[in-house]
């Protein structure tokens, strides 16, 4: 059985009706293409490096297949907005503009990595890009998202916290508690459920009583913007733009992105090799719903032959990623006790003005 929601066409038609967004410009579309080919090149390179044992570690969750989900939705944000996600975070980091060199160095556990080699694949972040991180416990980042949004609400700012959450996390307590809190406190969070059909190896239908995952948010009185074909960056952008503005002015909102993972749950996932039905399903998605091809077709149908620009973006991506690999491999590994122990705590800046004799004479 090929996983693709049967009511997708109907859902998308409903979204189309209410859509009145300014269409993205040619420059925007070309830039989305640039981002998507960079992510794909980065992720496929990571996969290869893992196979060659040049990236070690047991966890490496690739964003290949998901590109339009992140690219289309984050295009709706402004600079002061916030982004937080789970462990499938490489693509999110690159879209936000993190340096691929620092990201690749983190994959290899190097000192020059964005987290100094302490976080690895699942813990990318950048304060400069308002990227609050990738988190490794399923659902664990969801209350953090609510807390980041609370800061905006507390100080009267209208910045939105865009929060990516996998389909599997919609079954755990963090999801339900965090969505409910965001509702009662009117927190400006846009919850984006990236539904790629599987929580690790378990199909959504076997894990969730409600398989239209965005409808879970309705239980908490949260505005749902429905399901989106997240292989199509334009569809993603159109809905995200409305939802971001809704969250900015009103409070929490949810969108369900229907997408697919090309490299399994993580790189150690061999289900696609072991099961014929899964590899057939993967081939079907790649053939019919490939996000980079969908975007390319869309650009060409509107603007004619832009193949030179697209080829340049692909070539640049190859160069950037190759440079990031060279940089990472040449970088130093953390190796000392100081490297190990540093940044466990903030060095206290508290000045204890206390007169230690206070209280000494009393019993």
């Amino acid at each position: 059985m090929v996983y693709f929601p049967t009511d997708m066409e109907e859902q998308i038609a409903v979204i189309d009706e209410g859509k009145a967004m300014a269409a993205p410009s040619k420059e925007m579309l070309l830039d989305w293409y640039r981002q998507m080919v960079l992510i794909r090149e980065f992720e496929e390179t990571c996969h290869q490096l893992y196979e060659e044992k040049r990236i070690t570690g047991v966890y490496l969750h690739l964003y290949s297949g998901h590109e339009a989900s992140g690219v289309g939705s984050m295009a709706a944000l402004r600079k002061t907005d916030h982004v937080i996600t789970a462990y499938r975070d490489h693509g999110i980091a690159l879209i936000l503009g993190m340096d691929p060199k620092a990201v690749m160095a983190e994959m290899m556990g190097k000192k020059t990595g964005s987290s100094g080699g302490k976080g690895g694949s699942m813990h990318l972040a950048s304060k400069d890009h308002n990227f609050w991180g990738g988190y490794a416990i399923v659902g664990g980042h969801l209350p953090l998202a609510a807390g980041i949004a609370l800061e905006a609400r507390y100080r009267g700012k209208d910045d939105v916290t865009m929060t990516y959450v996998g389909d599997g996390a919609t079954n755990n307590g963090y999801f339900h508690e965090s969505l409910n809190m965001s509702a009662i406190w009117d927190l400006p969070v846009l919850w984006i459920i990236e539904n790629n059909g599987y929580g690790m190896g378990t199909e959504v239908e076997r894990a969730s009583g409600q398989i239209e995952l965005h409808r879970k948010a309705e239980a908490y009185g949260i505005k749902s913007f429905g399901r989106v074909d997240a292989q199509n960056a334009l569809e993603v952008y159109a809905v995200a733009s409305k939802a971001v503005e809704y969250a900015r002015s009103n409070g929490p909102a949810v969108i369900e992105h229907v997408t697919y993972r090309y490299r399994g749950h993580g790189v150690s996932d061999k289900q696609y090799d072991a099961r014929d039905d899964m590899s057939a399903e993967l081939r079907e998605w790649v053939k019919t719903r490939e996000p980079i091809k969908i975007l390319r077709d869309c650009i060409e149908s509107q603007y004619g032959d832009v193949s030179e620009i697209l080829a340049k973006h692909k070539e640049d991506a190859r160069k950037i990623v190759a440079e990031s690999v060279a940089y990472a491999e040449a970088s130093e590994l953390p190796s000392s006790y100081d490297d190990l122990l540093s940044n466990t705590y903030v060095a206290s800046e508290l000045v204890y003005k206390t007169d230690q004799s206070v209280g000494a004479g009393i019993d």
Partner: protein, 328 residues
């Protein structure tokens, strides 16, 4: 020095109120902290003074309370998140151990999480097994967070203030048994009276045996010391105050003088505070040791409802006195 007896809950309330007045970024959230005025009445009057923006009732959602505090702190606020009792903080253990304690480390210092989890802790009052825990050592297991457990009003005041002002996450436990207990606080106490994080305190001096304790254990140790004094045994009571960082130097200095030690704690005995102190002593103070190290802790059993067997399970001054006499 002029002093006045103040219940620990009043001292905690005063510290919280002063810190909220001092710093606009400090806010409190938790179950029943606002309209109900606090389950333990610590936040009585707060809603009226600070309003709903800074005194926030939450739903019964410990996972979200635990994690939301982390996000808000990373973003620049200074949340004080109250768990109605520490038993409920088990539901938030992932947020505490995996997120509060680790966000600084796994992003290599990019973020800080200056938050305080407050939790009422302790056994007794026929609260029954699932509401009867003093599990501070569980939380102190994790590097990246501090754990503070005051034993009297003045300590609670100075320790909570330091916890709120420090840039690291702190789990701060408040012994339910000590909430109503009055102890002296000086009249001219400065608003900036802070007790340094990780600094323990000698609560009573003595040369014959070191009674090492924290929170309610200090109370039992002091009672035992008074009883022992009638037999001319002078016990030194060492109050660690913080389980992390742990002021072992203070314990070593006392032990060098007394050469004997009884560890007193309200927590369960296995994989415990007592085990940690004893292990450090045997490793670093072997040459000073004149007797086996004794531990007085709760019995290794879930707490029952019925009064007499509940009391059997708890530590008390008598058990401490008996332990001391076994090693003298």
């Amino acid at each position: 020095m002029a002093a006045r007896n103040v219940a620990m809950r009043e001292a905690i309330r005063r510290a919280l109120r002063e810190e909220m007045r001092r710093d606009e970024n400090v806010f409190i959230m938790g179950e029943e902290v606002a309209h109900w005025q606090g389950t333990h009445r610590v936040t009585r009057g707060f809603l009226e003074e600070f309003g709903e923006r800074r005194v926030r009732d939450t739903p019964i959602s410990e996972m979200a309370i635990g994690g939301l505090a982390v996000g808000a702190a990373m973003a620049g606020l200074r949340p004080v998140a109250e768990f109605m009792t520490i038993n409920f903080a088990f539901l938030a253990l992932d947020a505490i151990a995996n997120h509060a304690a680790k966000v600084r480390y796994f992003f290599d210092g990019m973020f800080k999480a200056p938050l305080v989890y407050r939790a009422a802790s302790g056994w007794g009052n026929q609260a029954t097994a699932s509401h009867s825990h003093a599990p501070e050592p569980i939380f102190a297991h994790f590097p990246g967070i501090y754990v503070g457990c005051p034993s009297n009003s003045l300590d609670a005041y100075g320790m909570l203030k330091a916890s709120i002002r420090d840039d690291n996450p702190v789990l701060f436990t408040e012994s339910i048994a000590l909430y109503p207990k009055p102890s002296p606080m000086p009249d001219d106490l400065n608003d900036d009276y802070l007790i340094p994080i990780g600094k323990g305190d000698i609560k009573r001096e003595g040369a014959d045996v070191s009674l090492v304790a924290y929170a309610r254990g200090v109370d039992w140790a002091l009672q035992a010391a008074r009883q022992l004094a009638r037999d001319d045994i002078e016990a030194e009571v060492v109050d660690l105050r913080w389980l992390r960082p742990l002021d072992m130097e203070l314990v070593y200095n006392s032990f060098k003088k007394t050469n004997r030690c009884v560890i007193v704690e309200e927590s369960l005995p296995m994989y415990s505070f007592g085990g940690e102190i004893a292990a450090n002593l045997q490793e670093h103070m072997f040459d000073y040791m004149d007797a086996p190290i004794k531990r007085v802790a709760a019995e290794d059993v879930p707490l029952p409802y019925s009064k007499d067997i509940e009391l059997l399970a708890l530590p008390n001054a008598r058990k401490v006195v008996d332990a001391v006499k076994e090693i003298l």
